[in-house]
């Protein structure tokens, strides 16, 4: 019997409780022992629930219980989650979390303490919700040097972009729709500004490239500057605009970033719509592999957590796979790219001269129709990203969002 203490009974924690109770028989059969939900800590009142007797408001009391083997942290945020998790590990308990903010902010410290204490710390649910990604990257793809990871890792922004494209909605209208459907928080900043996706790609880079759990130096741009006109140009060009979190192995290290990108129509991530997430992994032996599913939601995320619990229950004293030798995090904008941007004035000879002065060889795109009469778009030649972006800063003509234009 493995006994589980749950910290936090919000959306995800409630899902963990539901799975442990509803699929208890399945889990017992598969693990060869029961997985018993022994205690739940939450400050709110859940006295109406059938398992109300499990609740406590005293986290320290839960963490002190010697009969609890595995602590599941679903509180969110860094503190007090960090202190509770460290305390749990100090008491010899294994920890499972879905909390990406915690993993990025305190993962190094937690991993070190877990190694000292000989317990396990797993966080499959922190990235990609229910989609198995970290496990397969660590285990099934262990024979590969991972070359790149490109992901649509935030369902909220992907839903908004899908609505802007298919429904012709503005960013503001699509965001409001996402909020009404419960896909976006009332304060949507962490999603739409790309921070959520950055934390997730940071975690995946740690798994794939052995890099420290730190998102410093990772370039982040969200979707707040995108307009539905960008989607229309993308359609004209046979492309899709997606918020892509990218980690790529390059000479001397790896680069990581989150930024809007205009993908070719046949790119494996181009067709990923609505709230779905997908992660495209390239390994030197396996080539491209894609993992796709719902990247959030109560039961999918809880499914990943319970998968980690099962792993621990089966292998409490596991010899875990070592991370690969760490790559160094390089300047996120040091790679060669092409950039797309709308230019918000008619394509006069003067405007053309202005563009060609700053972006020699740029491709100019015009679209028929009244909505496009007062603007055109440019796609730069390939160049070093930081230099190209700096040129947009110096660009005298008014312009729209700067979007990576993925070749071909």
């Amino acid at each position: 019997m493995a006994r589980i203490g749950l910290l936090g009974h919000g959306v995800v924690g409630g899902g963990v409780a539901e799975i442990l109770l509803k699929n208890a028989e399945l889990l017992k059969g598969r693990v060869g022992q029961g997985l018993e939900l022994a205690a739940i800590c939450d400050l709110r009142d859940f006295s109406a629930l059938p398992y109300a007797s499990l609740f406590t408001k005293d986290a320290q009391a839960l963490l002190a219980r010697p009969d609890i083997d595995i602590v599941v942290e679903c509180m969110g945020g860094v503190e007090p989650a960090r202190s509770f998790v460290l305390r749990a590990i100090d008491s010899g308990k294994h920890v499972v979390t879905s909390n990406k903010a915690l993993v990025v902010a305190a993962g190094e410290e937690i991993i070190q303490k877990a190694a000292e204490k000989g317990v396990r710390f797993l966080y499959e649910a922190s990235t990609g919700g229910g989609i198995p990604v970290i496990g397969p990257l660590r285990q099934n793809l262990a024979a590969n040097h991972i070359g790149s990871i490109a992901g649509i890792l935030n369902g909220t922004t992907n839903y908004i972009l899908t609505r802007m494209r298919d429904g012709g909605a503005s960013f503001a209208a699509a965001l409001e729709e996402a909020q009404q459907k419960g896909y976006a928080e009332q304060d949507p900043a962490a999603d739409v500004e790309g921070d959520d996706a950055r934390r997730k790609i940071c975690i995946l880079c740690h798994v794939a490239f052995g890099s420290p759990l730190s998102d410093e130096g990772m370039f982040t741009e969200g979707i707040t500057l995108l307009e539905k006109q960008d989607m229309l140009y993308a359609r004209e060009l046979g492309r899709s605009v997606k918020l892509i979190a990218l980690g790529e192995r390059v000479e001397g290290g790896f680069r990581a970033s989150v930024a809007p990108a205009m993908l070719p129509g046949d790119h494996p991530l181009a067709g990923v719509s609505d709230v779905f997430n997908a992660v495209l992994v390239n390994g030197d032996m396996v080539g491209d592999v894609l993992f796709y599913g719902r990247g959030a939601g109560q039961l999918p995320t809880a499914s990943a957590i319970v998968g980690d619990i099962v792993d621990i229950a089966l292998h409490p004293s596991d010899r875990a796979i070592e991370p690969p030798a760490p790559l160094r995090c390089l300047d996120a904008l040091s790679g060669q790219v092409r950039l797309f941007s709308r230019v918000l004035c008619p394509l006069t000879p003067g405007a053309q001269q202005e563009v060609e002065g700053l972006f020699p060889g740029a491709r100019l795109v015009t679209v028929e129709g009244e909505a496009f009469a007062e603007e055109f778009a440019l796609i730069t030649e390939e160049g070093v990203e930081s230099e190209l972006r700096a040129r947009f800063e110096r660009f005298d003509l008014p312009h729209g969002a700067v979007i990576r234009y993925i070749s071909p």
Copy 2:
């Protein structure tokens, strides 16, 4: 140090040797010990290879070596692979294989012997090539009752269908092209008649539904009856024709089959083209999850094998996860479906009456253009599949392939 003996140095076995040698340092770092390729058995002459000294033609001598911990079987076929694998297990060696014919024909016997001897038997590479599927299904999705598995599990047939659709090639021409590109064997029967896909869905049903490794009673129809006209109707209907291997949990058990299906354009498997494979898994907690990549090829398949070797090297005395309680394999054609078929005569009132007599409520599809002047298509109402298929046997009008028409 874990020492590996390799049986068979063909395409896949050669890939395993290549990965073990080329990524030796990566693997040593991740496992915490070296994975040494100790011996290779193959009857052919490989004396020109830099690792020629590892070769032997005597499998029994390799299996008798006490210093070999893990035997990797890449010979293909049932015998002598089965005898060699049983012998290896009898001597206390773990076994990894990519051989789906072996897993289906002798998996039960091998699994039982491995349990008796306390060694491991892994076969991730037998299904989906390099795409992690069996591992994630077993481990990450362990909290789920799996509801269904639908897969494009054979790259050869998917390539042929893609060429028939995009290139307007006939089945024969597309097959020849696949053979020229090395995607199809000179004797393509196992691929085009669906047997390869059936073995793979049988293995996935074992993992997901706990069923015995036996493909008896699984309905199998390949793609040999499909014509490019079928692809044109599919396009008119906004659909794609794919060879779908399907395992689905139903009241009282599960059903499994391989058959061509006409998928809606937005189905997650509709866009899987060329030689790519994909597996769509539905779990009661996680919802839909898709795994996608190259389902065959030397290094992708070898990548999966080495992933299994890593698993064993880390956890030689693993408490493996138990399969779920076994579901019973039911009549593959007992489900409710709709069926599509071309009718190879003009849509006269007489023909219409004939169709309506046998298939009341069927939708009739006509397409403009000379190529369609002498034919139409019908889509039946939903009914029990065995009954609907029996009616096609009694159907007096000449007709094309019978294809599952997936709702909506």
